[in-house]
């Protein structure tokens, strides 16, 4: 009796597997289409809000790419990397980064200064609240729009408590130039509280408190400015790669969302790392 019923169960599950396989085959084309052009009601809303009915390209991977780990090791600090081509005929003016399913989806808006050292990559770390598309939309000087996106599986990044090991002075800035001086990581000590976290000591919500904007100058000229939201991780960190050594001095100025304090620092020489 036990044996025969287990056989029935086995064949039943085998049938389900075949059915599932068929369904996968049947839906494969649809799924592939969705992978290359992820869409959601959240995105539809954002697209209408920021870009209206403006046509948006989605296929040009050389022009721009977005990279994030599909299974993030840390939902509260998921790395997102944007790569850009150096096409002077289609220079990028602005890039917005959206995390569709976050409570505040617009994570960052980067404004590239015309004629400045071309930026080839930007790395940032973001909070991911639940499974979502992470997308970047670039606007060229000529007004074209290009969108790239990737899918991230994560949950709870916006409400994750602050790191237990967090320390340092608020607003402390650390420059980390690479040995070839073509890449610079800038980190700012700041809780960057999302407003969705709970203080474990009091059980009260921690108010949103974050770096709301920053500007970067190199060799006395503006290179990049950014408006940042609550999706940026604790201790906001940007890595900027350029196609040549960034001219010095490099100056950063960041603004606090609550106190409006300016956190500024200057790096006189980016050959420090090479000299070590």
């Amino acid at each position: 009796m036990t044996e025969s019923s287990s056989v029935v169960v086995a064949s039943h599950s085998a049938a389900r597997r075949v059915l599932a396989a068929l369904l996968i085959v049947l839906t494969a084309n649809v799924a592939a289409a969705q992978d290359s052009q992820p869409s959601s009601s959240a995105w539809q809303f954002l697209k209408d809000k920021y870009y209206g009915d403006h046509t948006m390209g989605v296929v040009d991977e050389q022009f721009m790419s977005v990279e994030a780990p599909a299974n993030t090791p840390d939902a509260a600090a998921t790395p997102v990397t944007l790569h850009f081509a150096n096409d002077p005929t289609r220079a990028i003016k602005r890039v917005r980064v959206f995390i569709d399913n976050n409570p505040s989806p617009l994570a960052a808006t980067f404004e590239f200064t015309a004629g400045a050292v071309p930026i080839t990559a930007i790395d940032m770390r973001v909070r991911v609240d639940r499974f979502t598309s992470v997308r970047a939309v670039a606007e060229t000087a000529g007004g074209d729009l290009e969108m790239r996106s990737t899918w991230v599986k994560a949950a709870g990044g916006c409400s994750a408590p602050p790191a237990a090991t967090g320390s340092g002075a608020l607003g402390e800035i650390r420059f980390r130039p690479s040995m070839d001086a073509k890449s610079l990581q800038v980190s700012i000590r700041h809780p960057n509280s999302s407003g969705f976290q709970i203080d474990p000591r009091t059980n009260a919500p921690i108010p949103a408190h974050y770096i709301s904007s920053l500007t970067l100058q190199a060799g006395g000229k503006p290179v990049l400015s950014a408006d940042l939201g609550i999706s940026i991780s604790e201790n906001p960190t940007l890595r900027i790669a350029t196609d040549r050594a960034l001219p010095t001095p490099v100056m950063i100025d960041a603004v606090d969302s609550e106190t409006h304090a300016h956190y500024s620092a200057t790096m006189a020489d980016n050959r420090v790392a090479a000299a070590q």
């Binding site: 990279e67 994030a68 780990p69 299974n71 090791p73 840390d74 600090a77 790395p79 997102v80 990397t81 990559a121 790395d123 770390r125 709870g156 408590p161 790191a163 237990a164 090991t165 340092g168 650390r174 980390r176 130039p177 690479s178 040995m179 070839d180 073509k182 890449s183 610079l184 990581q185 980190s187 000590r189 709970i198 474990p200 000591r201 059980n203 201790n235 960190t237 890595r239 790669a241 790392a273 070590q276």
Partner: protein
């Protein structure tokens, strides 16, 4: 011996090597008189049996019993309590938690009616509170009990003719690590300061953990119970693989930061040569990389 083999040959080996010993249900072995250990399973927290992955156990004195870690669910805690009661009717005076992770603390609820004192590092109380909603949502916990007796640096507990010496550590595996030494037998309960076979999971500071390992290497103990993995009679040898892995991770990521390698790239590459025979590499290593990267970028 393959590390994925059933646990009984390991405990059997210990039984052969110990003077007085007895094997009890719930995969429990008496290692040395009055010291009992239950070895957790080497599976991912997401796998079936995820509530029983940590080593737990208890120490019996003349008047009192101390429990050290309680497993990842009230069910495991109850099984541990039942195993204690099969062996001794003495009161359970202390439940000691070696740190905040679910697999070591969620069995505490099984001891709620025993009038015990819950003991942990001074930072454990806050850490338990921080983790409460996470435990409720992800591990089906219904009751989370934190410590009522806090260890700032050191504390000695007397079980009646048997002293336990507790030490709270600076941030290492977590920021609330605690070790226990049974002075009578020279048995060290290392908690998750020691992982064996299973890849160490970093939730505190890699540099702090390496400092703790350097300290522990000089300790003279006869037997060590790691938080995960098999027991050891040679503490420095048991610490060596974990030390090697953490040092390689630190060295590799320090170099990445110097070269301007992004976290994204480091995730796929850092210290990959260390994979070796560690269990749960794919599940644990990327998160360790992310942690160490964020720790070292402020050097």
């Amino acid at each position: 011996m393959p590390i994925t083999a059933p646990l009984w040959p390991i405990t059997g080996w210990l039984l052969l090597n110990d003077v007085a010993s007895a094997e009890l249900p719930f995969n429990l072995a008496q290692l040395t008189p009055g010291v009992f250990v239950h070895l957790g399973q080497q599976v991912s927290p997401e796998a079936a049996g995820h509530d029983d992955i940590a080593n737990t156990g208890f120490i019996v004195g003349k008047t009192c019993i101390a429990v050290i870690d309680t497993g990842g669910s009230v069910d495991v805690g109850r099984a541990l309590r039942a195993a204690i009661r099969q062996h001794s009717a003495l009161p359970i005076c202390y439940v000691i938690n070696t740190h905040v992770h679910f697999d070591h603390v969620l069995g505490n609820a099984a001891f709620a009616d025993d009038h015990v004192s819950f003991v942990g590092s001074a930072t454990l109380a806050t850490e338990m509170k921080r983790s409460e909603s996470f435990f409720f949502q992800n591990y089906g916990a219904r009751r989370v009990i934190g410590p009522d007796r806090l260890v700032e640096k050191d504390l000695t507990l007397d079980l009646g003719g048997r002293r336990l010496s507790l030490k709270a550590w600076a941030t290492a595996h977590t920021d609330c690590d605690l070790t226990v030494v049974d002075e009578k037998t020279g048995t060290l309960w290392a908690g998750d300061l020691l992982f064996r076979e299973r890849l160490p999971a970093l939730d505190g500071s890699a540099k702090g953990w390496l400092a703790a390992i350097a300290d522990l290497e000089s300790w003279h103990v006869k037997l060590t119970v790691p938080g995960h993995g098999t027991l050891s009679r040679d503490l420095p040898a048991a610490l060596a693989p974990e030390q090697h892995y953490l040092q390689a991770l630190v060295d590799s990521i320090r170099m990445d930061l110097k070269k301007g390698v992004s976290l994204q790239s480091a995730l796929g590459e850092a210290a990959n040569t260390e994979r070796g025979t560690w269990l749960l590499w794919d599940e644990v290593h990327p998160r360790n990389v992310a942690r160490v990267y964020q720790e070292l970028e402020w050097e």
